[in-house]
Amino acid sequence: MEETLFWSRLQFAFTITYHYLFPQLTMGLAWIIVFFKWRHVKTGEERYGDAARFWARIFGINFGVGVVTGIPMEFQFGTNWAEFSKFSGNVIGQTLAMEGMFAFFLESAMVGAMVWGEKRLGPRNHFLATAGVALGSWLSGYFILTTNAFMQHPAGHSAAADGTLQLANLAAFLLNPWAMIMFLHNQCAALVTGSFVVAAVGALYALRGRHAEQASLFLKTGTLVGLFSCLLVAFPTGDQQAKMVAKHQPVALAAMEGRFHSGTNAELNIIGQPNVREQRIDNPVRVPSVLSILAFGHVSANVQGLDSFPEDEWPTNIELLYYAFHIMAGLGTLFILLMGIANFQRWRGRLEKSRGLLWVLMLAFPFPYIATTAGWMTAELGRQPWLIFKLYRTSQGVSEVVSGGDVLFTLIGFTGLYFVLGVLYLFLIGREIAHGPQGVSLTGKPEVSHD
């Protein structure tokens, strides 16, 4: 049982972390492609058409890997978390089924035509198909985040006669305030990933001196969308998310901040290592009272430390939770700085000549992936030891009939398969980027690349 629980947790964590590398780009890039398509239809300028086609090819590869790594997620509810599925299926099954019925059907119908069907569909319908994929991907995000929000902050349920959960109020479940804020926070973060990737490819072309027109289009779009989405991730969405954690999951906030002892005028730890055994932060750099302000809005607010909670309700991995939260918040701040400088230089007309800044933009694209991953680790580690916060423990939810060895076997299988997928993905994306946006034109044969 212990082993099944451990390997099942690791397998879910690994497969969901790997999976989410792809949808975040899908959700961020989708609206940028819609924008390029819209400009193309509106102005008839071929540079927008080329840009839309180039990013749609990258989108297609990315979407494909996202889909195939996503299907195992839904199945794992039943295979590895059977007791949890039985306990909560009537509630969270709603959103999982809605995701399939409302979002996946939309995305799956449109995506093939979006990537390969421009000729068949014609400009207007192809634009609609592109917008349909974007909408579907965000709907899917909404439904899955509502599912997660129920686990973080259950709403709209009641206890059934047999001890399981049943749906009591669909509106309360779907409009869970936790879901609303988490959705906005998460979607803005997806736009950060999308815009950083677009800006990075623009920077690459600018540094190489290739595809000059596209390079400046990508840089402009990437840095502009990047700046706005970075700001929105931090404020108001990130700020509201933190306040919600402070209000509803104070024990998680205490662990995220490595706050072992309660007190007013709570300080924010900028740097420092949590030492759980000694119950302190080693080598801290602190700003006094800031945590009180961030969490509750005034300087003297009392922020509870871990000592206010029974130890069996502490998050199970405080160190990792602390680091994940600080990496997310730290990177988020640096993103605003970088995009601020990039936009300032672009406004002065100097961005494409600032080689140093272009280098930074080109190499910055992995960091939004790190930040979103760390953000999700914060959310999920902060929820522990609960599967549904304060209602149902993670250890209660695991499948009883599955052995630890079986789960280790499938985890190793996923590791191998996903390694191959990763190599394949990087190879194909690298090839598209090397080939560049002039690609295959609509009117004629594939153009031969001269450089």
Partner: protein, 349 residues
């Protein structure tokens, strides 16, 4: 209420098996119907761009099972643990091979991915067939209402069974051949030239095999679960299924003989739907039959979710279905008729 949800689930599974059965069947036949690279691309173009819409029926089926019968989902997914992961990996490989094989025009790249495409489709057909066989035969549910299955035990369909025994293997072979025959009908409809002509020859051959295997599997089912047949007489849906099987088969044979291509495809779809409907009707209300003792079987009536959630879902589900079909039609009307290699095969470089 419970009957309605059972019917909705059956409908979704039928949609999946009919639509995806065509994609899988075409994939199984890719190397037989298509000899050159261009012909094999045509097979992939024939199932695209809506193959993933077909596959979503399985995902959505899982979601609806989650809402309506969470206990059944929990018991069966955990019980079939390893088989489910094989199915998932096969789906991953098939999806990836469709996605990436078109990107590069290199012959080695194409050969490798086309092989993975065909092989994963064969594996998928066998797994889906074995799964259906397991539902009909039953699983070793004990007093605790749980089970776990190894891949095989002594190959007997009674008592402590495994996933594979002589019965489930023969159902798997039957489904493999049926999907291939269904796929051949679809390829006849969607293609021209040599792929079309070969598919027509293959279809005529395979449908005779389907007919023979149908007789064999029916007799075997009567051996393994005789009570299913005696219970059928007072179940109208079982009769509907039976009529569909017979009319579907005759439409296939007459359609193939007179080269009315659409008729053959509708016929094979109706045939497959009829098989699923008569099966689902005859096992109802038992969703998981116990091979150990009948009283351990899990019935739809005792394992459905509580009422309010089901009532709510009954409101949104039809709405979502209308949307889904609308999306499909919006795209599909651009893809009716034969595949055009100039428009539909991906442009590599």
């Amino acid at each position: 209420m419970i009957e309605i949800w059972y019917a909705i689930l059956c409908f979704m599974l039928v949609m999946f098996v009919v639509l995806e059965g065509f994609d899988i069947g075409a994939g199984i036949l890719q190397h037989v119907a298509g000899r050159t690279d261009a012909e094999r691309r045509m097979v992939i173009a024939a199932i695209g761009p809506l193959w993933s819409w077909h596959e979503v029926w399985l995902v959505a089926f899982g979601g609806v099972l989650f809402v309506a019968f969470p206990a059944i989902l929990a018991v069966s997914f955990a019980g079939f643990y390893l088989a489910f992961f094989l199915l998932l990996w096969a789906l991953v490989l098939r999806g990836v091979s469709i996605e990436v094989s078109g990107h590069i025009a290199d012959p080695l790249w194409r050969t490798a991915w086309h092989f993975i495409f065909a092989a994963s489709n064969v594996l998928l057909a066998i797994l889906i067939g074995a799964a259906l066989g397991n539902v009909v035969r039953g699983v070793p549910l004990g007093a605790g209402g749980k089970f776990t299955l190894s891949f095989f035990t002594n190959f007997s369909p009674r008592g402590g069974v495994g996933i594979l025994d002589w019965f489930t293997i023969s159902v798997a072979v039957f489904i493999l051949v049926t999907f291939a025959a269904h796929g051949a009908n679809g390829l006849v409809l969607k293609t021209e030239g040599p792929v079309h002509d070969r598919s027509l020859r293959i279809a005529r051959l395979l449908w005779k095999a389907v007919l023979a295997l149908l007789v064999v599997v029916t007799i075997e089912t009567w051996q393994v679960r005789p009570e299913l047949f005696s219970g059928m007489t007072h179940k109208p849906f079982a009769w509907l299924g039976l009529i569909s099987v017979i009319s579907g088969l005759s439409a296939v044979f007459t359609g193939l003989r007179s080269k009315r291509e659409l008729r053959a495809v509708i016929g094979s779809s109706v045939f497959i739907a009829g098989l699923m409907i008569s099966g689902a009707a005859s096992v109802f209300p038992i969703m998981l039959h116990s091979t150990l003792a009948p009283e351990y079987s899990l019935s739809a009536y005792n394992n459905a979710a509580a009422g309010h959630g089901l009532a709510v879902a009954l409101v949104w589900w039809p709405v979502s279905l209308i949307f889904s079909v609308a999306y499909f039609l919006f795209i599909y009307r651009h893809y009716t008729g034969k595949v055009k290699p100039t428009d539909d095969t991906q442009q590599p470089y």
